[in-house]
Point group: C2
Chain length 235, copies 2
Amino acid sequence: MPERKSIPRPAARRLSLYLRELSSRAEQGETTVSSKALGRSLGLTDAQVRKDLALFGQFGHPGRGYAIVELVASLRRIMGRDRDWRVCVMGAGNIGRALVSYDRFRREGFTIVAVFDSDRSLAGRKVGGLPIQTMDELAKVVADERINLGIIAVPRDAAQQVADALVAAGVKGILNFAPRRIEVREGIGIVSVDFTVALEQLAFQIAVGDVVNETVDSGSGDAGRLSDGEAPISA
Amino acid sequence: MPERKSIPRPAARRLSLYLRELSSRAEQGETTVSSKALGRSLGLTDAQVRKDLALFGQFGHPGRGYAIVELVASLRRIMGRDRDWRVCVMGAGNIGRALVSYDRFRREGFTIVAVFDSDRSLAGRKVGGLPIQTMDELAKVVADERINLGIIAVPRDAAQQVADALVAAGVKGILNFAPRRIEVREGIGIVSVDFTVALEQLAFQIAVGDVVNETVDSGSGDAGRLSDGEAPISA
DNA sequence: CTCTGTGAAAACATTCACAGCG
DNA sequence: CGCTGTGAATGTTTTCACAGAG
């Protein structure tokens, strides 16, 4: 564990937003951006942006701002986006099928290479160009295809079991869509997204009569989020 | 704006997890739970659980713990889950269709009553029992069906425009799945979920060699999070 | 002048630790 | 006892404000 420096969790969440916004600006042909302009697009202060980016080194050019292409490259490397991620989807229900067909994953370097479902009668049917496989082929396929991430899109009560199988097969991280906490051993990454929780947070904002801008990225095993929050909620 | 008390954002995110866990325990027939047991299931300390729950009143019974049914009812009311939420889905692509068919929403009191798509050639086709409608029927349908929430499942470049139309039509909150920040006027709720950001957070956990349990609930318009985080990430 | 990087201050959130109820 | 609710202590994150680079 090559522990160098501690990154505040909220900052880690914002990093993804910086990368998303910067990539989009790069596509527009912009070459440079100030912390103020970047913060403005994301609902953050300029100081916050500078602090976050300074966590990894000196990327800015005083008087000029940040060189976008350069910064995107650095952030990608820092976030592990320069490697190739090979992903399998567990569960070929509504959500699993939608994710397999979600083109953006591939474009962003997360390639889905296999789909599994416990229902053997689905075996062989194709989803987004991939044949559905049975769960007992998991270990072999993960090894053969060098899969390092798994996405759980199975019913709640099967989720922990499927997670255990993924870890046993050798994946390094799990993105969980089932509505429950997943436990994994130290060293395995886990991020959860719960659609109902997301809608509920929305209902809460409204019920409480006070609304702030919030990004929900359901974290690992617990109640994480990925929102550039602003004020607390007042009730 | 009946501002009474300020609720820490991280606490707001955890509330959903308490409710989810408590409901599940109620189904198992459990009647009582201590802050310690609840925290254990969610990866939180007992003190954290007590502080969070105490934000809204005195729910616990010293020596005994919390009465589950009672607490679930209180939390539901506090979070606005006692009302009926009527939802429309914008975009009948992979994600939109998966969400329309996501049964859990209905069971949890979020009823999807309409689906829209800008592609007129899809008009009339059914998705999960609902006919796809064209975007220009939006205002009328929102009013007639008393829709108060909208879900955005359209491509990035159409998202802000669709959000504006939803707000103009009268929805009170938006759940956004498009990969960009959505701006809404004061008083309108917004929560965002970005699948790519979620996978990226996972990649980051792994790249950084240090992994903590995290729940990602992509917040509103900015870089928020919804994670019951633990330690910061070390790089 | 513009705009970064960063210590120092302020705001926030979590954990501790304990008084007090049942 | 067991377990809550809560001030006080601690730890973390954000904001401020400014020196210095281009």
